[in-house]
Symmetry: C2
Subunit: 404 residues, 2 copies
């Protein structure tokens, strides 16, 4: 595999004020295009330091992708640093300068105008990319055996340019990604490894996050083997896998509801609206998601969902009976055909010996069948328990619609 390196420029990154998301996104695109990424380096806005690092990386990598520091202000030093590292001058691109003049004219201060025009400076011999979009273009410079690619920092400008650079290189098999829920990372590994025994050329990576495990298969140079491994792994994962096309769990649930003509309603207690919020992230969710109730206080469970106060008094708000009554209350909302509820103890306080932090009850009520309830003891801190509970709620809806 050819070696690549990623460099992200910005003092906001090296001071920890801003989380770098470009570095990982670029590395992933490079990996998908068949590169081995040897490092992702964040550097401050310091032209001398950037120049030293770029020289070192260019000496050992086929491709170095740099993002950030191409804007108009004094701390945008990537052009100068790269020119210095390559030992080439900067030359002003007349076409880009004309385009920028328009913008520059709106600035009254002469120094602001000159700063704006710096974005038209390109390294001698560079191929300019993305020059029709706003502000700074990207640059691709071939030097010896290697290439240096300079891209702007804003992701919306950067990604199309990166795609353009990599478009000619994507003859590699992209990784296969199974998104799963309701299964632990180690269980997923135990299921998948036997399925891969006959495919030594396929690399397995597991990624766990609260409420989700992603199983990734890599074999950029062996597409046929990757396809066979895909089928074996898919079978091994069974119902735990909710998507093979990158769709999120909320997107999967919305898609299933649309195909089946369901109208969904939720009753959320410990998740406080997280499941509803995630469903409504999906554009067009309003076609199938009616809404629901965030019944954090018991009084709202009774007032809005018709949960009998004696159920709450007898069994408690975190109980099978309460979860069933909440789901059935949500199913009575006008138009609903399928409803689900969640009630649990997210912590850090509120746990008891009988009902510890992490205990969560769920129920699914449907117009065309019996109400099903499920209990889980979820692990982690408050945020993890809530995230897992919201994912479990959506997964129960998915499994109900898939007919399991």
């Amino acid at each position: 595999m050819r070696t690549a390196a990623v460099v992200t420029i910005g003092t906001e990154l090296t001071t920890g004020l801003r989380q770098d998301t470009n570095g990982g996104a670029i590395a992933r695109a490079l990996r998908d295009a068949g590169y081995h990424v040897e490092s992702i380096t964040a550097l401050p806005d310091d032209a001398a330091a950037v120049s030293v690092v770029l020289s070192a990386l260019m000496a050992r990598c086929a491709l170095v992708v740099v993002t950030g520091g191409l804007g108009p202000t004094h701390d945008d030093i990537t052009r100068e640093a790269a020119a210095h590292a390559l030992g080439r001058p900067l030359v002003r691109d007349a076409g880009i300068a004309v385009r920028l003049e328009d913008l520059a004219r709106r600035h009254s201060a002469p120094d602001a105008r000159e700063r704006m025009l710096r974005q038209a400076d390109v390294i001698e011999g560079a191929r300019v990319i993305g020059a029709t979009s706003g502000s700074a273009p990207g640059q691709v410079i071939t030097a010896g055996e290697g290439r240096l690619v300079l891209l702007p920092g804003p992701p919306a400008e950067m990604h199309p340019m990166l795609d353009e650079v990599l478009a000619s290189e994507s003859a590699f098999a992209p990784p296969v990604r199974f998104r799963c829920t309701g299964i632990s990372e180690s269980d997923a590994q135990a299921r998948v490894e036997p399925a891969l025994a006959d495919h030594p050329d396929v690399t397995l990576t597991l990624l766990a996050a609260p409420g989700e495990v992603e199983v990734v298969l890599f074999a950029p140079d062996a597409p046929a083997s990757l396809q066979r491994a895909r089928q074996a792994v898919r079978a091994a994962l069974g119902i735990a896998c909710f998507s093979e096309d990158g769709s999120s769990l909320p997107e999967t649930v919305i898609g299933l509801a649309r195909r089946r003509g369901e109208r969904l309603a939720l009753a959320e207690s410990c998740t406080g609206g997280m499941a509803s919020a995630s469903l409504t992230e999906v554009p067009g969710a309003s076609e199938v998601f009616l809404g629901g109730v965030v019944s954090y206080a018991d009084a709202l469970k009774s007032a809005l969902l018709g949960v009998d106060a004696t159920v709450l008094a007898t069994h408690g708000a975190v109980s099978e009976a309460a979860a069933r009554a909440m789901a059935e209350g949500a199913l009575r909302l006008p138009g609903a055909t399928l409803a689900a509820s969640v009630t649990g103890i997210a912590g850090p306080g509120g746990g008891t010996a009988d009902k510890p932090v992490g205990l969560v009850w769920f129920a699914v009520a449907a117009a065309d069948g019996p109400t099903i309830a499920a209990e889980r003891l979820l692990l982690g801190d408050r945020a993890a328990i809530r995230t897992r509970a919201a994912a479990t709620l959506l997964d129960l809806l998915r499994l109900r619609m898939e007919g399991d």
Copy 2:
């Protein structure tokens, strides 16, 4: 300022499968402790490559902090790489080994046991930190003028160890951070820069995210000037600033409600539960947040909030009248003393010439005063509009409770 570098280890990072969050968090802690962070480098699980990078960084930095790769599996190579870079042997720490033996005994396979015990291997002369917590300890190695710190990757294990390492060094003035909302990044800059004119030794950084602008002042070596600048900037930001102690907007709202004895309820349409979910992220939210209604469909606005169907037919669901009726409906929920509503067009579809994508109406209804409504035209894509709308909703509650 002394120079430091951060290294994060893991092939999942350099393949872009996992976003590195440790690197930025460590850099921030180092910056707050008065270090200049020269780079944050993510490297794959490759002992030879890691060793080369560590040698180079040790040669030029007073402090190198490495995270990840200290676990028990074959791809945990940080110990070996660091030992090689320093030219020192690994020695098995008897105390840690005894502690691990217990865990190791539960593994039947001898190779699993031996792998587990590798976590007791420390670099000769290292100071061991965090040895009482689970699994791998951290290590601090002094070599020449510099120090190398090895920390495990899981943030919950890493952060306490990092705090321990930096505890003795925090004689620097930490940065001042103002969290603001309802103001653009450029407006914030225009307000703050004049306030900083008399404080050339204070560095200003602005960080914008949908719904929030953070104003950060740095002057690690000039605490007196930083305090004066803090007062001037606080005055310049006015009501836009919701926290100086790092509290999030939901934490600020929950804290105000607790002090005033309010009981909050929400009626959310376009935000689909995001504001409720963010309030319930705060531990103890149940003391002041009752819950509310996700009234995505108009039928639920009427059924659960009592919004008159003629209001919806006459003015539409995205209107001042609908927002007012929703907030007043939420205020009628049992126990509520203060309620707020949001209804808008998040896009990408659904916009018209009269009511474009981004138009959002809000209302706040209180037991002790008139209902107030507010209209905003919010920018960005669906996710940004929803995030901004949820932040605006909470901010209107904050301003109402602060008496503005």
